[in-house]
């Protein structure tokens, strides 16, 4: 008697890799236009790490985000190519560090401290105020609330080391202390102008 011998095909997997790992799968896959000197700046950063180019991963990611606002799949591939790595090596870093963004946010970035002193001094109300003033949508998975016109994004951050002058915020790279709602309106007007 012979065995049935039919090989039943295994059930087809239900999820494609792209659907399962959405991070990094979206966004721009074409390289953006580089500002002049960008490539040279990247090359210069790599020279800081003569032992292992791989160590330049984080500096290059920062450079990319500062230049283009967020790290696109094309950026991940470009950095990996520059450092003779595979893209997954860079994606691991991008998805690990909260400060790296894989999606564009608002042009004006408002970061409100919510650690103890600032929280006691009203940073939650301040953050609400900013969100209302900027007309932001609900915060995304990473807690960043962006206005539909992509002009502003507002988010909480942890301690930015000025507890004596709470509440403190950062707008882009500028630091502001003792920010009341009135001061907040002034600042917004100044940055919007």
């Amino acid at each position: 008697m012979s065995a049935p011998n039919t090989v039943v095909p295994p059930p087809a997997p239900e999820i494609s890799a792209a659907a399962a790992f959405p991070e990094g799968a979206q966004g721009h896959h074409e390289l953006p236009a580089f500002p002049s000197g960008f490539d040279a700046q990247a090359d210069e950063l790599v020279t800081h790490y003569p032992v292992s180019k791989r160590s330049a991963s984080l500096p290059l990611l920062h450079l990319w985000q500062e230049t283009f606002g967020y790290i696109s799949p094309a950026g991940i591939e470009w950095i990996a190519g520059k450092l003779e790595l595979q893209p997954i090596n860079i994606l691991e870093l991008v998805t690990f560090y909260p400060m790296f963004r894989e999606h564009p946010i608002g042009r004006i970035q408002i970061k409100v401290c919510r650690t103890l002193s600032c929280a006691l001094a009203g940073s939650y109300a301040l953050c609400d105020h900013f969100q209302k003033k900027c007309g932001t949508a609900e915060p995304d998975a990473h807690g960043i609330a962006t206005s539909p016109d992509k002009k502003y994004s507002v988010e909480f951050v942890e301690c930015i080391a000025s507890c004596g002058t709470a509440p403190v915020i950062m707008i882009d790279d500028d630091f502001h202390e003792n920010v009341t709602t009135a001061r907040a309106d002034e600042l917004l007007a100044k940055y919007t102008a």
């Binding site: 997997p13 994606l91 690990f96």
Partner: protein
């Protein structure tokens, strides 16, 4: 097979150092890691991420043990105890064994209350987010998480919170499915892909409480060695699309064999239940394939049970195929063959024959007229990949050549022209489809007065054959093969020959007896013995002496 790391086999000239393992002083090669040290004295340190052939990352923490070093006096000399061995300063906290390289005077405790507690703790952490879906998990039965739970874990869990949700049933490659919730983040698959196959597409994203094993977006784990990641995955995170849900592993009988997918001859285990082969897995042989095999070889067995498999001896009568018992078909074929002069007969041997079959085929040829019967095989050229795949896709080209049955394909054209010109009128074809594999036009075969084929699968050649002798697949036979490095290895029988098919050596032996009389050979061992007596390369060998790991033949005799 060159591995990037061989933590288990340090160079032979490594100096020895004295190390105390669980109270007993012994000597080991310096720099060996503690997991391997323990293994050498029959102790087992459980581990997930450590693998002797991959880089050491030390991330699973399962191999925590106690480690001590010699107590030093004021002059930095070891303080000697009454047993003339150094007194030990134990490090007051556990250390991972995999990343601990031994040095002179070191001491290890692989069994202690602290070690037990560490293992329990690590097991509890690993199981916190594990889905515990063992009843439907393919890894069940060969899962390290399961095994160590029984041996080192605790029955209960204190975890009452929500488990982390991660991607499941993810299609990450042609042969692989990923369940991220089962993954314990040992990173063996990542390291294997990167270090052994140089295909760095896997990595951990979202590191932290949601650490996710992922394939880079837009890429696939599609290299020809991908299924080895399923083997080394200690849990059921990576499973084989081909094997999953086919059979519970504890029902599988594992038969030691050799892959016949190319001339490398990777050592394998054939996993079968009753009369069905379910999977092939690599079997360790550092002289051949280490612990690995390619996906092509691993998945190349389904034809055994495929719809094209020939299971009945058939004779063509007009347009009909008539099932003819072996006892009749062999004498009929012998009688037909005897109608021809030696120069009118040709044989297409095969690089897929075992040595025993090749030896018997030579005997058959002898009975038909010896070397006047033109004989050759169909070479199969592939591409060597620098890892395991050989450029020769015939598993036994060397062996078949050893019996003078191969002219490396150079005589094929001569045989074809002979048939076209009517000089050659009878052809015996073994395990080849001349239309598909040698590119012969079907019309050539039509010109033959007698076409007999001994093979496994239906093909254009069997369609035109007057005699079809169904043979045995590699999983159904015993016999020996010589790989491309001149190593003699054994096939073992995992399942019975399918249907009415018969083991190839028996077919050839009976044909030889029908043509030229018997010679007292009845078993494969006797065939091997007769072959060894007639073949200097096999002098002094027997089938059992080849052993599970094979024997390197002397280069002079192996390279024909």
């Amino acid at each position: 097979m060159k591995n990037p790391f061989n933590h288990d086999t340090p160079p032979a000239d490594t100096p020895l150092v004295n190390v105390q393992v669980d109270g007993v002083w012994r000597q080991f090669p310096k720099g060996l890691n503690a997991v391997e040290v323990a293994r050498r004295v029959g102790k087992f340190i459980p581990h997930y991420c450590y693998h002797p052939k991959l880089s050491i990352v030390g991330n699973c923490r399962m191999c925590l043990i106690e480690i001590g070093s010699p107590k030093m006096d004021a002059e930095r000399k070891p303080v000697m105890g009454p047993d003339n061995h150094p007194e030990i300063n134990w490090i007051p906290r556990p250390q991972i064994g995999c990343a601990t390289q031994i040095s002179e005077g070191m001491a290890l405790r692989t069994e202690s209350p602290l070690v037990d507690e560490c293992r329990k703790g690590v097991m509890e952490f690993l199981l916190i987010n594990h889905p515990l879906d063992c009843p439907i998990c393919d890894q069940a039965g060969e899962c390290k998480l399961q095994e160590y739970s029984v041996q080192y874990g605790t029955a209960g869990s204190r975890f009452v919170e929500e488990k982390v949700k991660k991607p499941k049933r993810v299609d990450i490659g042609a042969n692989i499915v990923l369940d991220d919730e089962r993954c314990i983040m040992c990173s063996r698959c990542i390291r294997f892909s990167k270090e052994t196959v140089d295909d760095d597409v896997l990595g951990f994203t979202q590191r932290g409480s949601h650490t996710t094993l992922a394939v880079h977006p837009g890429k696939r784990l599609d290299n020809n060695y991908s299924l080895n990641t399923v083997d080394i995955c200690p849990v059921g995170a990576l499973t084989s699309k081909d094997f999953r849900f086919q059979m519970r592993v504890w029902f599988l009988k594992e038969t030691k064999s050799v892959c016949t997918g190319c001339a490398t001859g990777c050592n394998t285990l054939v996993g079968s239940r009753e009369q069905t082969v379910y999977r092939l897995t690599p079997r360790e042989n550092e002289a051949v394939n280490s612990l690995w095999m390619c996906d092509q070889g691993r998945l190349g067995f389904h034809y055994i049970h495929g719809p094209d498999r020939l299971k009945q001896p058939l004779v063509r009568l007009g347009q009909e195929r008539v099932l003819t018992p072996w006892a009749e078909i062999i004498p009929q074929l012998a009688a037909r063959l005897r109608e021809f002069q030696p120069g009118q007969i040709a044989i297409i041997a095969s690089g897929r024959l075992t040595n025993e079959e090749a030896y018997l085929l030579r005997e058959v040829r002898q009975a038909l007229g010896g070397e006047a019967v033109l004989t050759d095989l169909v070479p199969r050229a592939g591409e060597a990949d620098g890892i395991l795949r050989s450029a020769d896709l015939n598993p036994n080209s060397h062996g078949v050549a050893l019996f003078g049955l191969s002219r490396q394909g150079k005589a094929l054209e001569e045989i074809r022209q002979g048939i076209e010109a009517g000089r050659i009128q009878a052809l015996l074809v073994l395990h080849e489809d001349l239309v598909k594999n040698a590119g012969w036009p079907e019309a050539t075969l039509e010109k033959l007065k007698l076409l007999a084929t001994q093979t496994l699968l239906k093909s254009a050649t069997t369609e035109r054959a007057d005699f079809i002798l169904p043979g045995a697949s590699f999983a159904e036979k015993r016999g020996s093969l010589i790989n491309d490095a001149g190593r003699l290895q054994r096939l073992n029988q995992a399942i019975s020959v399918q249907g009415m098919a018969m083991d190839d050596w028996q077919i050839l032996l009976q044909l030889k007896a029908a043509l030229g009389g018997g010679n007292g050979l009845h078993t494969i061992e006797e065939v091997f013995k007769a072959m060894a007596e007639a073949t200097p390369a096999f002098a002094g060998l027997s089938l059992s002496r080849i052993g599970d790991l094979g024997i390197e033949l002397k280069p002079a005799t192996a390279s024909v």
